[in-house]
Symmetry: C2
Subunit: 363 residues, 2 copies
């Protein structure tokens, strides 16, 4: 069954990737021309102007809107969590997913604040706590009871990696069919998932494990050394090839990270801006970029995470984050905040009067 | 009449300043304790957590809300604008105020986006274009047809400076009486007003004119040198005393800058957080701080402006801005964006479930 689902995932990935093209430079140019005609000194709204131009190019619309919004929270467990790389026990993953479902987590609050709906997917959470059927924005897509320990071998099979990415695409499309959205955001939950994310960033950026590894939920020096050692072993045992995005995901990734890559690819295929949350989302974005480099043109980096490897990941993606608030929670919390900036940027472009309309003298 | 209004302004300032006390550290402590109990790693929302704790202290409420919001846009003209320090002609000031009144300016758009009402005050705009009576969020409080050229003498009399600050307090109180608000923001409009703002920052920070002076709406090298020279002359001719806030405002300030100082003092007196927009607002905040240092505890810095002297102003105020998007428009645009972050921060504090409530295992 897993093999069949892997093939299904692969077909889905190929179909999606074939739809991805570069962004619409004519729409971006028209948006820039309009920004320059608005009654304010040219460039005086700085990166807010650039953001609106970027979204115009992504949407192929010189006056894009950011009305309907969604954050995709992908959850899974990780074999490495059992090695003690996290400050929290593994049972926290399903507990937090239940917290998401009852609306009490930070991502629920920030999504409400940003007028953003939330879709939560169990991509491979361990334990029997979570619902086994879909409903209320929840998708039961458990690939396995957590990934394998990457310090001892591959996280998953290649077929499972394809399935993980396919889940991201599938859930994206299901939500789009339910109600089309103008912007999407990524989020994650998975105790231990900064460890595979660090491994992925180290592979794709070609940097040592230590430079890609941070303190996650807040570990002490001893645990940090353990974590660096685990990332180093994961890289040496699995010898991932950075040119093989799916293979690298299978070797040192995680189920939810693959699903995030799927959301990114699906967004690029549909020409919808996708707000990349923090470190784990950036790792997923790197997997997507390894599969189809053009998808990076559809990404918006939400914030600069406090996590060490995030800087290298953002550089590789060619993204400058909108916010820098020292956040490191994940869940999509930074992305939800950034969505309000995307909305504000597009509203300025669309609703501000030009010099001519306002009867204001230009320089 | 001006003298009488000056005395009236002084009484208003004294009455307001007497109400200003330090923030409520018990409420701030209770907010911090609650943040630490929420189901997320401690500190993982970074500055968003600090912001909620800060607002709790300001409001004296361990779970503050940011429901009703307002931005006060203060407008006036400046004698120095006639010296050619700006890229735009002086007529743009009333034209832009009319644009604010018809809802077509960037601040109108961003305020709508942030669910924030706008109050606009003519503190001293030159020319006869603006309404002469109040209505629809507009306050006709013209002190004079623009301030005098600070490179040739004082911007205004001491009585007018007191009146300008009094206008800020009066408008704040009028809007509060109309409908109480949970957060206030400052904004400005006034062609040429980065010049007096640079002079004010140079005085209060004790730095050379050149270090406090930037490119404003976008001037060329030659105009920049002219502007630095004007700030230098303003400082040498007027010899302002940084310990005398009102005197410094009178000598090298502007009417709208004084009104912004009034808004800041009124906010501190009412224990309402006041979001300081960019460079001109920071200059107004420095005037307020010179009058009553405690008012700085009530300020939230919206963003790091592209304007050169802003950094020195923020350091003096002890504020770290929330956003850094290369904005330099003024009007309150950065403050409107920052208000949504203040709301998000308070919502996380209030609405997120604790570890206990969510049934999530702590570390």
């Amino acid at each position: 069954m897993t093999a069949a689902k892997g093939i299904e995932g692969m077909n889905m990935i190929e179909t999606t990737v074939r739809k991805i093209t570069g962004i619409d430079s004519a729409a971006a140019g028209a948006a820039r021309a309009r920004q320059d005609a608005l009654a304010k000194p040219r460039g005086s709204l700085g990166r807010l102007e650039d953001l609106s131009v970027r979204i115009a190019g992504i949407r192929g619309d010189s006056r894009p809107v950011v009305r309907e919004r969604i954050v995709f929270v992908m959850a899974a467990d990780h074999g490495v969590a059992l090695d003690g790389v996290s400050a929290y026990p593994r049972e926290v993953t399903p507990q937090m997913v239940l917290n998401f479902l009852s609306g009490g987590a930070a991502i629920n609050v920030l999504a409400r604040s940003a007028g953003c709906r939330v879709a939560i997917t169990d991509c491979g959470v361990a334990g029997g706590l979570l619902p086994v059927s879909d409903g209320n924005g929840f998708y039961a897509r458990k690939i396995a009871e957590g990934s394998f320990d990457i310090s001892k071998g591959p996280a998953m099979t290649r077929g499972e990696a394809e399935r993980a990415i396919g889940i991201g695409i599938e859930v994206f499309e299901a939500e789009y069919a339910k109600r089309p959205f103008d912007i999407a955001a990524t989020g994650d939950m998975g105790i231990g998932n900064t460890t595979p994310s660090s491994a992925l960033v180290a592979v794709f950026a070609g940097i040592p494990a230590r430079e890609a590894t941070g303190r996650g939920t807040g570990i002490d020096d001893r645990t940090f050394e353990l974590k660096v050692g685990i990332v180093e072993r994961a890289l040496s045992i699995n010898a991932p090839d950075p040119l093989d995005g799916i293979g690298t995901l299978a070797k040192v990734g995680g189920f939810e990270i693959g699903a995030i890559a799927g959301v990114v690819l699906a967004a690029a295929a549909r020409k919808i801006p996708v707000v990349i949350d923090g470190f784990i989302s950036a790792a997923g974005a790197l997997v997507a970029r390894a599969i189809e480099p053009l998808c990076a043109e559809y990404m918006i980096a939400a914030h600069r995470s406090a996590e060490t490897g995030h800087r290298a990941a953002l550089e590789l993606l060619g993204l400058e984050p909108l916010l820098d608030l020292g956040m490191r929670l994940g869940e999509g919390t930074g992305a939800a905040l950034a969505i309000t900036l995307c909305d504000a940027a597009c509203r300025v472009l669309d609703e501000t009067a030009t010099f001519g309309e306002a009867g204001v003298s230009d320089r």
